[in-house]
Each structure stands twice: as structure tokens, then as C-alpha cells.
Symmetry: C2
Subunit: 320 residues, 2 copies
């Protein structure tokens, strides 16, 4: 059994479910586990560290013979790092956040398939222009960084803009009902982050697992506070969804003030360096209400598919 869409046909995989290339979390073993189970595993190369890329892509290639890929942040990744990744022969490269043109050229020159993640209409049209083979429409429900559109209305809007390019829905998808809903909205598949973070193969911290398994969507919030405090120059149009903590409560709505306060930022960075977990950002999806356990990634993927099929059968049954 499986869910066959234009994306699964294009990718040559049984299930229309891709692993979000979560920075620091989606390593080679997790990506390989998702690919081996019939999804598309994408290693998170986002932070752009060449040693991480070499290590995790080596792990991926050693662990699966199925299609797999790697994802990068377009705004921060030098072309050399993408070239280094391409030497590991991924089947797919995904680019997110920022102008994808320069890196898309590198990927195209290597003859590797390109996924571009978009967060608004202009980015969707730009993804078409750069020749994306697949476009991810990402909503603000996602854990970590995102743009300004919500998954539910954004997915069909992107589908209408970019057809016939297959679209994956991302942001807030954590169970099979969400997979079925994404397909109903016109997507050809989904990109799933936090649900795979809570899997045995993820490089997740205990705090992250605790947040995703026990937390509620209402405990998450989007802000720029942690990027500003860490002096990470994320483009301002991409805030990040994290669990709420005392640092966020203190600095909410005071971006300019924090940016100007060298002492506050240095103190924060020192606290992180000293291992202060209470203040550290914990990235998590708004959909964490739906995640209550940590399982092997293959089990997660098979449950997503089985639940999606149950949901689809239930909905089909509603048609009179």
C-alpha cells in the first residue's frame, strides 16, 4: 500500500512524505531511515558547516540505497558547501529562505533535482523561475523559521500559481490526518519536521524531545528574539517558532532594543555557551499537540501513511 502522487512518481518513492531538513536535527541516519521506509529523507545542511555536511552525508550514503537529499538555507550557504554536498551524490537538493538563484545554478549544473521552499506568492513565482522540480509551500505553523502565510490557505494558493510543478505542504503537519488534508488542498505530498524530530534516529536534545512530546501548540510562539540575541543575521522576514521561555517573555516586542543592547546579547550568549538550557531556544511546530511519543522514524512514517489512508477512507465515505 501507499499514496501515489505526482511527487512519488517523480521521486520514485512509495510515500509522498519528505523529511524536513532540520538544522542540527536531521542527520544522515534520520534521513536514511526515512528514505529506507519509503519517504524522502533530507539531511539538514542548513547551518552550512562543511564538516557536518561531510559527516552526515557520508552517514546517509552508507545507510540507504533509496533516493535521499540535503537541504540548505539559501541566505547563508556558500556555493562551495553545496558543491561539497553534491560530491556525495544526493538525488535532491532543497533550498529554503532567501533568494535561491545562485545555489539553484550550482544544483542544476550538477544535474540534481531541486526542491525550493517558499513562504509567499512572490517566492513561489521565483521558484518556478529558477526551475524547481518540486515546490514546498511552508506555513507559519512550522517549527523554526517561516514566513507569513498559514498552511491551510497558502497551499492551494501556491498550487494554483505553480501547477503543474508538484507542491509539498509544510508547517503544522504531524499526523496522517494532516497528510490527507494536504493532499485534499491540492498538494502532492508533505514535508514533516517536528513529528520526525520525535524519532529515535533524530539528533534531538532531551529538551527538544520533551517539548515536542509534552508541549502544546499554545506554548509555541513566533519571534525574532533568539536570532537577534544570538547575533544570527536571519533575514527579518523569517521569524522563528520556538517554545516560549523566560527570555522570550522578557524581550517580546523589543527587537530594536535587544539589537542595541550589547550587554544583554553578550550575557545571553554567555549563558548559552555555559549550557543554560532554560534560556536556549527550542524550535517546535504548532502541531506538537498531536505528537505524544518518540518512535523509530520508520514507524512514524508508516503511521502517517496508515492514518492518512484511514482519514481518506472516512472522508470518501462522506460522499453521498
Amino acid at each position: 500500500v501507499g499514496l501515489r502522487t505526482r511527487f512519488t512518481e517523480l521521486a520514485g518513492i512509495p510515500h509522498p512524505i519528505a523529511l524536513a531538513p532540520m538544522g542540527d536535527v536531521a542527520g544522515g541516519l534520520l534521513a536514511a531511515a526515512v528514505s529506507d521506509a519509503g519517504g524522502l529523507g533530507l539531511v539538514g545542511g542548513g547551518r552550512g558547516d562543511p564538516d557536518w555536511v561531510d559527516r552526515e552525508l557520508t552517514a546517509a550514503t552508507a545507510s540507504t540505497d533509496r533516493p535521499w537529499g540535503v537541504g540548505f538555507q539559501a541566505w547563508s550557504t556558500p556555493p562551495e558547501v553545496v558543491e561539497r554536498a553534491l560530491a556525495h551524490r544526493p538525488d535532491w537538493v532543497m533550498l529554503s529562505f532567501g533568494d535561491p538563484r545562485a545555489l539553484a545554478g550550482v544544483v542544476a549544473a550538477a544535474g540534481v533535482r531541486l526542491i525550493v521552499q517558499v513562504t509567499d506568492r512572490d517566492e513561489a513565482l521565483q521558484a518556478v523561475d529558477v526551475g524547481a522540480d518540486v515546490i514546498v509551500a511552508q506555513g507559519t505553523e512550522a517549527g523554526g523559521h517561516s514566513g507569513r502565510r498559514s498552511t491551510f490557505p497558502f497551499v492551494p494558493t501556491v498550487v494554483d500559481l505553480v501547477t503543474p510543478i508538484p507542491v509539498l505542504a509544510a508547517g503544522g503537519i504531524a499526523d496522517g490526518r494532516g497528510v490527507a488534508a494536504a493532499l485534499a488542498l491540492g498538494a502532492d505530498g508533505v514535508l514533516v519536521g517536528s513529528r520526525f524530530l520525535a524519532s529515535s534516529e533524530a539528533l534531538a536534545t532531551g529538551d527538544e524531545l520533551e517539548a515536542v512530546v509534552s508541549g502544546r501548540g499554545e506554548d509555541t510562539e513566533r519571534s525574532r528574539v533568539f536570532d537577534i540575541a544570538r547575533d544570527v543575521p536571519w533575514p527579518s522576514r523569517y521569524p522563528a517558532r520556538t517554545m516560549r521561555n523566560s527570555f522570550l517573555e522578557r524581550w517580546r516586542g523589543r527587537d530594536d532594543e535587544l539589537r542595541a543592547d550589547d550587554v544583554a546579547r553578550a550575557t545571553y550568549q554567555d549563558a548559552l555557551a555555559a549550557g543554560n538550557r532554560e534560556l536556549a531556544p527550542v524550535w517546535a511546530s504548532e502541531a506538537i499537540d498531536l505528537i505524544t511519543d518518540v518512535r523509530p522514524a520508520a514507524d512514524v512514517l508508516h503511521a502517517l501513511v496508515a492514518e492518512a489512508e484511514t482519514s481518506i477512507a472516512r472522508v470518501a465515505d462522506a460522499v453521498d
Copy 2:
């Protein structure tokens, strides 16, 4: 044909689509048109004006023999207004925004069925406590006021909390793909606002129609600016989604300052009273990308159902 769910069974209607009781917009003729077409028409009694209630509910009862209802804002509506509405013998009363307990008692005493709209988990549990027959899970994609959760992850979260009470999804649903997706997420139906605002029977202004038909989701934004400027004491946890305009650009993020600036607020209110349309709030859903025409409400409803069935058939076809 139709879509049969526990909601349609309970309501005795063919289609699981309810009209959002939009204040000033969802009058008796629109509600009657939706009910006559097989949905559930809900008159917008939100502003609590007894004359409006009498006039529009008289129009509704004169125009349809099918089940219909009326919706009120819980935080602002006196029990006498609900009692006045009950004298018109609606089949349903819907309560939104704020503690529903006092008004729920009035509705229960009349033996009329109760819909409670909720915007977070606590409100969902409270809706169960007050004996809601149907619960609407509303996301921040909605036009006008809403809470803090997004439709896509919030709907299944509410379903898990309140089962077996039927749940309607609201916020960002403007075409049949959205109806199908809502059912996939576990809802038993949908509540639709902006798509019905762009219908012949709506009491919509030209500016509202223009915004909904030509605007894009990215032109909308949630804020408290217009409530503060108008001195309308909406509870702070419910900002409102409107089209962006110069007044919002000017006052964004300056709620406290606007609240303290008597001159600015008086000037704004004078401008509205003088008919300044450029500054007036225009409420609209994030899903307006999907709305491109004004049609009779019956056509809107039948298109939603037909598109939903097409979407469901396409998704069912994906199952291998």
C-alpha cells in the same frame, strides 16, 4: 449528491457547510439563501443591536423553511438580545469570543441547539462544559477577529479534545479543497465567512467586495489597531484580520500609544463618521487569494460541495 457527516445528520441538512455569522454582513437574506441551498445559514447578530436582530431574523424566517440560526459575540451581547432572537425561533444559536456560560444557559432554557466557537484548547474544554452541540475550531486565518491557533493544526487538536461532539473548521476555508481538507483533519463540516461575503445576498460594501475578490492573503494582517482606534473594547486576546491600510501601517505595534492618544482616536472616529473609506477597517480572510468572483450564495455553496467532491475523489485515487 452531498457530503454526509455527523453534523449534517444532527442538523438535518444536506451539506456540512455553515455560514459564518459575520456582523453587519450576514443578514437574514444571506442566511436564508445558504439554508435554502442546503447549508446552515447563521445570521450575524454579533453587534447586539436589537433592531438589527428583529429585522434580519424576520427576513430569515420569511425567506426559508429550512434550519437556520443566529450568532452572537459572547463578550458583548446582553442576554435580552439573545432572548429577543430566540423569539424568532431559530434552530441554532452560535456563541463566539469570550465566556459563553451566561448566554449558553439562555439558549439551553429555550431548548435551542448551541454552537460554540473556540480559539484555543481551554475554550474547547469550556465549550464541552457548557453543553455545546457543535464546536467550531477557528483559526487565525479567519477574517475579522480570531484567537491564536492556526486552522491546520488546531482542528485535529480540538477534535481529539471534544470527540464525540461534532467539530466545524473555520478560518481560511474558501473553496472546496478546503472543505475536503477540513473533513480530512477530522472535522464534520466547515464554517465559511469571506467566500459568502462575496455573494449576491451579503450586506457587503463595495470596498469589502473589492478586497475579497481582488486582494491577496498577504495584503491582510492581524492587529488590534482598529478596535483600539474605534474605542471598541474587544478582549485583547482576539485581534482582527483586516486588509492593510495607511492607518494600520502608521499604528502597527503601537497599541498602548494609540490607546493613550485621545486626539488620534477622535480624529480617526471623525474620519470614519465622515465616510473616509481609505482608513476604515475592511475585514477579510487570509484565503482571499482563492476568491475571484461574486455569485449567488446558492452557487457558492454548490461550488464548494462540487469542488470538495472532486478533491475527495482525487485524493481517494492516490491510495494505491
